[in-house]
């Protein structure tokens, strides 16, 4: 069974393992699975301006657009997932076998010893499906880092991972869970039928081990992103409504809500094209450009490491195959990270970057304005 996505007898490709409203672009052999094809689609749109992100950043005072001190070391441990959400920017799924090896995990931990980053943000795919996930978490905790697990919730229901809530709680790991909406309709529309019910059950299990009750060692963060071609809601006023709704309908509690816009790349790009929303959505992102959201976007205080150890300005650039480069034009790798010049570089941008500066701003930590 080696090579097959089977975990303790559960086939990750099955609907029981997690909802699957679509299949990966790669498994369908689509041109759009290629980063260059995605960038070309965005560049070829005729918009109201030339939509040159660097020019917008320069107008807002960033000439050139450069990083701030490093706070967050984000590690994408692979593309394997038990779900195939319609909007996934990673094109993740059970067929994606790219997964970080133990050697690269160890390189990441060694790099952490050499950085001042206070937070390690672990993402995927479903990062918990990487066989070295716990080695990575334990290593980060031992180094005194604040650890974030970006969790799709449904993965917690897999029999093999049933002890995971307690494992994470014991180590004070913050769990950031994807839940597009506090009610079923929009959640299932984006992530597949049955997602909402499974997500509520997973939230109950997290609550049962102390998450979501105001304990700083058991922080439960929910992450909403729109189920369609519109911008994310205001996270502060929405949080209160979500807390009331989830408690009233399900007796579930959480600590905070963060709201993110969808990036017009990968499977969300496919959906935008198929539904005739691409032009309108890209124009909307451009019209909603907020200079006040620019200083706080994640590429300025985060580096993103891929499953094979390469360094990117953010997880979106990683998926678009736009590596971070130093002043000498060399692509950065975690094995030689950080160099003295790591934060002395220019952030690589393209039109998708308008997704992070639209409205209240949007990054892995939520609104930025």
């Amino acid at each position: 069974m080696e090579g097959l996505p089977i975990l303790d007898g559960v086939d990750l490709r099955s609907p029981e393992a997690g909802p699957k409203p679509t299949r990966s672009l790669q498994s369908r052999g689509l041109d759009l699975s290629q980063p260059a094809a995605q960038l070309e689609r965005l560049d070829s749109l005729a918009l109201s301006t030339d939509a040159d992100f660097d020019a917008y950043a320069a107008e807002a005072g960033f000439t050139p657009f450069t990083p701030a001190p490093l706070d967050i070391f984000q590690i994408n441990v692979g593309k394997l997932c038990n779900m195939t959400c319609r909007h996934c920017h990673v094109d993740a799924g059970p067929d994606r076998t790219e997964n970080m090896t133990l050697e690269t995990v160890e390189q990441c931990l060694a790099a952490l010893d050499r950085t001042t980053a206070h937070t390690v943000d672990i993402t995927g795919g479903a990062p918990e499906l990487n066989p070295h996930f716990r080695t990575l978490v334990d290593g980060c905790v031992a180094r005194g880092k604040h650890v974030i697990d970006r969790c799709n919730l449904t993965v917690l229901l897999l029999p093999k991972l049933k002890d995971l809530p307690e494992y994470l709680a014991d180590r004070g790991v913050e769990v950031v869970c994807s839940l597009p909406h506090h009610r079923a309709r929009n959640t299932d529309a984006q992530r597949g039928d049955g997602t909402y019910e499974k997500s509520i059950e997973a939230l109950r299990r997290l609550n049962a081990v102390g998450y979501g009750q105001g304990d700083p060692q058991r922080v439960l963060t929910l992450m909403t992103n729109p189920a369609g071609a519109f911008l994310a809601p205001d996270q502060a006023s929405t949080e209160l409504q979500w807390k009331r709704s989830l408690e009233r309908h399900h007796g579930v509690t959480f600590d905070r809500l963060i709201a993110l816009n969808n990036m017009p790349i990968s499977r969300f790009l496919e959906w935008l094209e198929e539904t005739g929303n691409l032009q309108g959505y890209m124009q909307k992102l451009l019209d909603a450009f907020n200079p006040g959201a620019l200083a706080g976007v994640m590429c300025r205080n985060t580096v993103s490491v891929s499953w094979d150890g390469h360094i990117y300005d953010c997880d979106f650039n990683q998926m678009l195959d736009l590596p971070a480069v130093d002043r000498a034009g060399r692509a950065l790798h975690v094995s030689d990270f950080p160099t003295a010049t790591t934060q002395d570089r220019t952030i690589v941008t393209a039109r998708h970057c308008f997704g992070c500066t639209a409205g209240a701003g949007s990054s892995c930590g939520g609104a930025t304005a």
Binding site: H181, R183, R185, N186, T224, P233, D234, S237, T238, Q241
Partner: protein, 110 residues
């Protein structure tokens, strides 16, 4: 109908300032302030606006507040309930006038 209602008029709404910039400026400032979070949230106000849009049967407003409600975090269930509230008031408003009919009928009839 197409001569009277054009979808691009919504995006071009600001052009109304051409005839009187001062009044337009006051209107848009007041309009913007009305929808800020206050005792009611932006989301609640957007749902009210969506319902009123249907009651006044304004296609521009329906377009704007369908997106507005979604971006404020509402879903189709909530938005449909808001439209039913508008429809119920419109229906009720028609039907309650039946009491005028009833009184007239009683006055005129035997």
């Amino acid at each position: 109908m197409s001569d009277y209602y054009k979808a691009d008029h919504l995006a071009r709404f600001g052009e109304i300032s051409q005839g009187n910039p001062d009044l337009a400026k006051k209107f848009f400032a007041w309009y913007g302030a009305t929808f800020e979070d206050g005792a009611l949230t932006k989301r609640e106000k957007s749902l009210i606006a969506l319902a009123v849009s249907h009651a006044v049967q304004c296609p521009y407003c329906i377009d704007a507040y369908t997106t507005g409600c979604l971006e404020a975090g509402s879903d189709l269930e909530e938005m449909t309930e808001a439209v039913h509230v508008a429809a119920a008031i419109k229906g009720g408003a028609a039907l309650v006038h039946g009491l005028q009919m009833l009184e007239k009928a009683e006055e005129r009839g035997m």
